[in-house]
Structures are given as structure tokens and as C-alpha cells.
Amino acid sequence: MANKERTPFENPVVEWVDSRLPVFTLMQKEYGVFPTPKNFNYFWNFGAIAMFMLITMIVTGIVLAMHYTANTELAFDSVERIMREVNGGWLIRYIHMNGASFFFIAVYIHIFRGMYYGSYKAPREILWMLGVLIFLLMMGTAFIGYVLPWGQMSLWGATVITNLFSAIPFVGDGIRTLLWGGFSVDNPTLTRFFALHYLLPFVIFAVVFLHVWALHVTGSNNPLGIDTKGPQDTLPFHPYYTIKDTFGLLVFVLIYALFIFFMPNALGHPDNYIPANPMVTPAHIVPEWYFLPFYAMLRAITFDIGIPFTDIVFINAKLGGVIVMFGSILLWFVLPWLDTHPIRSARFRPLFKIFLLILVADFIFLGYVGMQTADAKLFGVVPLIYLGQAATAYYLAYFLVILPWLSKNEKGRELPASINEAVLAKNK
């Protein structure tokens, strides 16, 4: 049916292929003339940047897999062999290692963009939920990947995180045994983690395809959060946004390269250059920086939940922490129904904007808390655990109380009539 609407191409080879498999028509429609709001700011670059990072991770990862050995006796040595003996091996590994961090940086900014400009609201709910699914898959992939070099932090991070699953009632121990492939984090864990670390990026890729598909059905949101009303509001994707994305990507890669070449280990932990040793526990086990806010929420639940003044406990502290940690992301799935305010963009919702920016600060602060030991004190006085609990409470309240309340009570500012008008008014 697409064939009937096809306009022939001049180039005979292209035309020959396209009349049999209309890939050129598809690309032309989705990336050539695709109508895109003309008022994007640079926050809209991070989807393309995240895509670039995914491809970078897959390509470098495949090369690393050619040299890596998934065996507890050999894994650490094989990584060091990549660093020292394989031609350009150090570069490939540092691209991959720092790539995980920069993938997360891009995706965190991308998620913030979505939250700030209300990109999750109708009709983009499925687009948003697919994005949350991608983020969850990324977290799993990154965690598993960090285990592969089999350093001290690999082993002990894996031990801490896999042990969380045992908190789940009834099936928890079974899940943990299944993850371990035995009775502790050991060789069977490493081999299955390697298999999954190779598989999951391709699952991510498939979900990204659905994410982009959904995007091309609804079209992009924009900084004003109002719908496009006609051709005067949009520009063809090429060349306007292909060139803008290229420029934005290069600036991002410039910063990425600064880390790869000049401080490749700044975002890592020195303990992971000590080979894993099950007999020696590191003084302070911390996850990678991109997990720290969630790690803080996990540790914030230090109390059992039950009937006060009795011994009856419904949810013990460990399970409570696990529920809060996973729940903090699962909440994003229902974000379109927690925030039902008709205005999308924070630009026209002053109250929403303040609470969201507080959430960002709160999230960064949680990251700081997650990095500290459990008994750390702020300025040597205030026990950090209480501040972590307060920050966790705000995080949950933002989604469960503040957003629903604002949806009913925030008046919001008047929206411009159209994107075109707003752009013209601004350029006057």
C-alpha cells in the first residue's frame, strides 16, 4: 500500500531497489522531509546522542568480546591483556568504559527534557513508557557489564545487588540462586552475566526501534509543549535537524573524548584494578555513579514497616528498601497518569517548574548520599542517613502527592497561539 503512494526516484538503481523494497522512500519520509517543530532547543539533541552512544557501546563491546575471557581465573588478566597487548585495546576499552557513563549522562538529560517539557503526556504515553523500559534495560546491562572485569568492586557490587533479590518473599532465594548459578557470586555468575551482557544491548536496540517508531507516529514534542498546527510550525528533519544534531553530537563527543584520553579512570573506582578476592571485602562498596541516587533510596529504608508497638512486621527494612529503589523508577511508567495537567511545558507552569527543579537537586543530593558510608555525617554533625530519608521522601512525594495536587490546582500561564507565532514574536 505504501508502494502506491511512492514517488519514483530519478536514479535508476535507487528506483529499482525502492520499487521492490521501499527503504529509500522510508528514509525520505522519516528522516528527510519528516515534519519537525521548528523551535527545538539543544535539549532535543540528546535522543540522537543516546542513539550514537548505544551504537558506540555495541561496536566497541563486540570488539572487546573478541578478546575477553569469561572465567574467574582469567577475566581480570584478559582485560589487562586488552589494555597492554591488544593493538589499540586500551582505546577500545576506555571508549567502552567511559561510554557507559556518557550513555547515562545523555539519557539522564534526555529524561529530564521529557519531564521538564511534559513529553510524557498524551498522546506520547507509550513513547515515554518505552523510554522508561530502555532505561531499566540499560541499568541491568550496565550493572552486569561492571561485573565482567572481575575486580574487587565487580565481585562485591554484584554480591550486594544480587543479594537484594533475596528480600522478595517466597521466590527471592530462588531468584538469587538462579542469578548466581550456585551459592555465591562465582564462575557460573560471571559466564551468565557475560552472555546476558552480550544479549541485552540488542534487546535495548529493539526497544529503541519501537521508541523511535512511536515518536514518528505522534511527532516530537517541543519547548512550548503545544501541538504543531501546520507546515508553518515545522521544518523538514533534513537538513535542519540533521545538521543541528551533528553539531550537538560533536560537542558531546568532545567532552567524552576529554575523559577517554585524559582522565579515563576518573569515573571509575580504584578498587576495580584489584583482582576480585572473595576473602577480602573492600572497606566501602559503592556502585557506579549513575546508580548512586537509587542506591541512596535503597539504603534510606532502615526501618521495618508493620503495626507500631507490636512485633508484627509486614515489610522488613531490606524489602522496603528494594521496593522503594525499584518503585522509584517504576513510578515513571505511570507518570502520564500522575501528572494530568493539560499544559505540557514547564515554561507555562511556574509551580511545576519549581518542584521539578527541586527534584533535580534532590536527585543529585541523593547521589551524594549514595556515595557516602552509611554512618557518614554532613559537616560532621547531621547524620546523612536522615537527609537521605528526607530526600527519598521528597522524591516519592513529588510523584505521588505534588504532581497529582498540581494537576488539579495549578492554573498555569497562557499558551501562545502557535509555534510559528511564538518564534516570530521572539525574533522581532
Partner: protein, 257 residues
């Protein structure tokens, strides 16, 4: 307004990351390490001092190697110090390496070749533990495996002190102000004049420590010089390319505004 938001975010991010770095140090509970000046530490143009590497190798060979292995370093890697192939062959041949099994199924000793890795002082970890109480760590990665590795190792070598009053140390334990927990199983390894340098370089503990740190830093990151050299080129290319793309973007977008 949009601009101010961006600036705010960048500011918040940079302020918090600076804070994070500080408290990360505090959190490890380590003593403050004195910042030394290292040629290899220079952000963009760090290089290893060839002479210091050669001296550091001598210190390692004559002192550290008695207990510490460096199993990730091969003799051929010493080419980085400016040694010629013949010199490396010569150095390797001074070592005795266990090889085999031969056709009769026996292990045998032969002289070292450039492709051999540094032989370890103990046949296995248990032997190292039995001889020293705790197994001395392999030094190939030690600078990368510690917070602020170069300053840490330098500080450790100079950090031996009498234990504070009331602290009883067991036999084979020593007091070191830089070691986490302060109790260390390694006796102060260096003393003035214990290693003879071939040139006028002072034969002091301080100089030995500086040289061994240079050598260990190289062992941990032998690719560092090339990495930074490539990095400069990559940054220049990316900056120029980004600048060009910015101009193209301006030109393409001009009719829209």
C-alpha cells in the same frame, strides 16, 4: 530564561561534583596525602622521565622484587625506557626463567628472553603469605588500584614512624602514617645509599621513592604518553569539526529566522 536554566544546571552539576570528589576522599578515611609534582601527571602533556624509569626499575629489581611480583610486565616492555633491543636481551638474560615441560616431561631453567614476563619471587600466593605473613600485592597496577596512587605510594614509602605511645605492634608489624589503619606488614624498604646509581642522582630515600613511583606509574599505564598525544589530536579535530558544523548549521538555519 532558557539560558539561565542551562547555566543553573551546569553550575549545580559542577559544584556538586567538586563536592563529591572532596567528600569521597574524606569517606575513605585516609590521611591527607601530600601532593607531589609528577611529570606524568600533567593533564595534557604528561610524559615519563626515561632516566627516572631506568632508575626506578633498578630500585624495583634490587629491593621490591625480593617480595613483590610484577607479572604483567615483560622485558620487551622496557623498550619504553629508551633501551635498545640488545640492551633488553641483555637485561632479560640476567634472569633465570623456569620453562617446560621439555620432551622428557621435566621443567628446566633457562636464561630469560625479551618475551618473558618478570618472574615472580614466590611460586604461588600461599608461599608469599607463608614467607611474609600477608601476600605482598603484585605491583603492576598498584598506582591505578589506589586513590591518588602516585602520591599514596610515595607517601607510604616515606611514611614510616614510631607507633604512638600505647600502641603495641606485633612482630612483623610496622607503623605507617599513610597506610589505611596505619599498621603495615612491610618493613621500611628503603634507606639512604642502599642502591648505587650510575650517575650523580642523589642516593636518598626521597629520590628512590620518586623513581620507583615513576616506574610503577608507567607499569600501571604504559599507554599514557601515546594516549595523551592521540588525545590532543582528537580534541583538535573534534573542535575544528564542531566549529565547522556550527557554521554550516548557522547558514542552513538563517532563512528560518
Amino acid at each position: 530564561m532558557r539560558k539561565s536554566l542551562l547555566t543553573l544546571m551546569v553550575l549545580a552539576a559542577s559544584v556538586s561534583s567538586a563536592g563529591l570528589a572532596q567528600t569521597a576522599m574524606a569517606a575513605t578515611g585516609e590521611v591527607h596525602l601530600e601532593e607531589q609534582e609528577w611529570g606524568f601527571d600533567d593533564f595534557f602533556t604528561g610524559t615519563y622521565d626515561r632516566a627516572a624509569l631506568q632508575r626506578g626499575y633498578k630500585v624495583y629489581r634490587e629491593v621490591c622484587a625480593a617480595c613483590h611480583s610484577m607479572k604483567r610486565i615483560a622485558f620487551r616492555h622496557l623498550a619504553d625506557f629508551g633501551y635498545s633491543e640488545a640492551q633488553i636481551k641483555n637485561i632479560a638474560s640476567e634472569y633465570s626463567i623456569e620453562d617446560g615441560p621439555n620432551e622428557d616431561g621435566d621443567m628446566f631453567d633457562r636464561s630469560g628472553r625479551p618475551s618473558d614476563y618478570f618472574p615472580s619471587p614466590y611460586p604461588n600466593e600461599n608461599a608469599a603469605k607463608a614467607a611474609n605473613g600477608v601476600a605482598p600485592p603484585d605491583l603492576s597496577l598498584i598506582i591505578k588500584a589506589r586513590h591518588d596512587g602516585a602520591n599514596y605510594v610515595y607517601g607510604l614509602l616515606a611514611g614510616y614512624e614510631e607507633p604512638p605511645e600505647g600502641k603495641e605492634l606485633a612482630v612483623g608489624q610496622y607503623w605507617n602514617k599513610v597506610m589505611p589503619g596505619h599498621v603495615i606488614a612491610m618493613a621500611a624498604p628503603l634507606s639512604d645509599g642502599m642502591i648505587a646509581y650510575e650517575d650523580e642522582t642523589p642516593e636518598t630515600v626521597d629520590q628512590y621513592s620518586r623513581d620507583i613511583v615513576e616506574f610503577l606509574a608507567w607499569a600501571a599505564e604504559p599507554e599514557m604518553e601515546r594516549r595523551k598525544r592521540w588525545g590532543i589530536n582528537v580534541l583538535i579535530f573534534l573542535a575544528a569539526f564542531a566549529g565547522l558544523m556550527y557554521c554550516v548549521k548557522k547558514k542552513i538555519w538563517k532563512p528560518v529566522y
